[in-house]
Symmetry: C2
Subunit: 409 residues, 2 copies
Amino acid sequence: MDDLLNRCKEAQKQLIKIGSEERKKLLFLIADAISANADSILKANRIDIENARENGMTPAFIDRLSLDEKRLKGIVGGIRDVADLPDAIGETIEELKPRSTIKIKKIRVPFGVICVIFEARPNVCADIAALAIKSANACVLKGGSDALNTNIAIVDVMKNAIKDFIDPDAITLIRSTDRKITDELLTKKEYIDLLIPRGSKKLIDYVVKNSKVPYIETGAGNCHLYVEKTADLSMALNIAVNAKYQRPSVCNAIETILVDEDIKDRFLPLLGEKFAELGITIYGCEKTLSSIKAEKATEEDFYTEYNDYKVAVKVVNGVDEAISHINKYSTKHSEAIITNDDNAWNKFSTEVDSACVYRNASTRFTDGGEFGFGAEIGISTSKLHSRGPMGIREITTYKFVIEGHGEIR
Amino acid sequence: MDDLLNRCKEAQKQLIKIGSEERKKLLFLIADAISANADSILKANRIDIENARENGMTPAFIDRLSLDEKRLKGIVGGIRDVADLPDAIGETIEELKPRSTIKIKKIRVPFGVICVIFEARPNVCADIAALAIKSANACVLKGGSDALNTNIAIVDVMKNAIKDFIDPDAITLIRSTDRKITDELLTKKEYIDLLIPRGSKKLIDYVVKNSKVPYIETGAGNCHLYVEKTADLSMALNIAVNAKYQRPSVCNAIETILVDEDIKDRFLPLLGEKFAELGITIYGCEKTLSSIKAEKATEEDFYTEYNDYKVAVKVVNGVDEAISHINKYSTKHSEAIITNDDNAWNKFSTEVDSACVYRNASTRFTDGGEFGFGAEIGISTSKLHSRGPMGIREITTYKFVIEGHGEIR
């Protein structure tokens, strides 16, 4: 393991040296190679799908695991988008104003080696490798065992595409499915500069509990929609449907709707009817149940990320109670208020302690692509280093570069 | 403990609400109060000094622990400097270019509650509280038992100064010296947003090993000076003396000097003579010992932060070997090259993986005050979030504030 990680660390130095234009070229080579080798990648993917079926995985799981020509084209397009992004490395973030005559520049630099531990989705390998190479970071990829054949196929194609120009260890896939490997990775502080867990809450909690390597938490999304009393109710309903129903399995879908007491008897019947029609189960507080028919919500419901056609609904007495509720139960991902009152919005946007706060828009926009980042490494729910969608700049750090003429203190 | 931390967390919300001008006023009130209560603070400090003497602490330790009128004036001046800094909170860091018609602003916000665990120095309480209030963060301070009386006196004065305008729990001192309290703090992720250990390597390693709260490592400084072959040798000697001798106990002092083979027979005799005169012991590699009289360096010497009148010296064969040596042994704090060769400097500044890289200046400049930050929370050797000296912006994070007109995906 040490040898593998050390080779990856050494390869990263080449990524800095070759410069921005060469790194961009590597990404186009990778995109072309994935296109040209679509058949072998899809073949490997069919083995993983076959195994998943034999192991009795759910259709939703198998769907997330599956590649086809269209999805592969999406991956290739994503890599080309990342290639075309402006370079971030070497950028002067700031010139400082020091006390003395020395000159201090704050310069953007790569982290070094980034390790991403992720579960089933096979697009993650290509997305992470593209963002890493663009930002002159080497990457260590540890995927779930369910996608191992697909991951090997994709990574081998990528390594082959770049091997004549750079040490291919810059993209390192952990090919063992032994879970002990994850434990080992979490201790390798001398080789890995940043660790990003992408996957289930269980995986993320495990990393938080055990990692000695600096990490960024991602993905837990207990998101809220608050319908304030001045809201345009048809807009509120439209956004509620989009944020809950369009893709319930994702982290930026909403899990709880908060409704102002003043409008509950106008809004809840609309919501109840529409959600019943869509097959969404409502878990309501006492006051909700006095307005519409629904399941009774427990305290636990408000902590739950359903990732399903289920939603908790709570009636609140104004913006202060809505903010308190959110700051207590939320995973600090994305929260929206529907309002026509600027004061309510100012209060909400200032006091809600989450990565993304929305006025009159769906939380589903919390996404690297939607934010204009090309692709994303993940969506951070940490406050340390980066928050919300993480693009290439979010996997960089900085150094101070200082020039003098012999100055001493 | 939970109650104490929760009160601190609630008080932080007031710090945001009162706004920038009020926070600035609080700092001037604190500065005035420390001035007005100098006698009681110095009296408390004398008790700590007395105890330290009885416990047989070293003169250096007692010096670090001691306050006098001049040092207290320095603390008060520091608080006023921080008060006068431009505000960072609420600043729009960036307007994004999203795919859709929503408007996305990246806004600078406080972390929330910052906990600093520190050792003897009594100025830390006031410095941290000032930077925290300026940036709308509440702080939890856990100092060493040796300075407990002084810390209580300073914090009580600060709390008293602000209590008519804001909940004084915004500055919370842990008044117990039980070491178990530190263990407890390291688990309080629901109340503490950021933890900063300031002190010995032992303390920092303990935090890295045990903390569940996000933290930033600070202060370990195995710093290097590399005298490249084109260096102005009198400048190199002058900087070597400053960086090693002016204040050897600090983290930005150098611990190893690397000398190019080509100039070793010209530079080492100068260095040897000067350092002998100053009473600095040199631990030299084989090649150093062939040029000058010195102790023999072991592998361990190159890993050592002496914090003393001791230095390791190694002869290297050009800039590549110097960079490899630094990247292997350094704590990633501050490294300097003395050179007249732009290519050597470019290579050094790009490839050395440390927070601060210097050309022709002393590493002693790595300091919040020297960088123009007013004061500092600490000097980060992490790559995550902030690197090098940390001022008020380094204890902030950001959120995305998004406005739409009913947009859905």
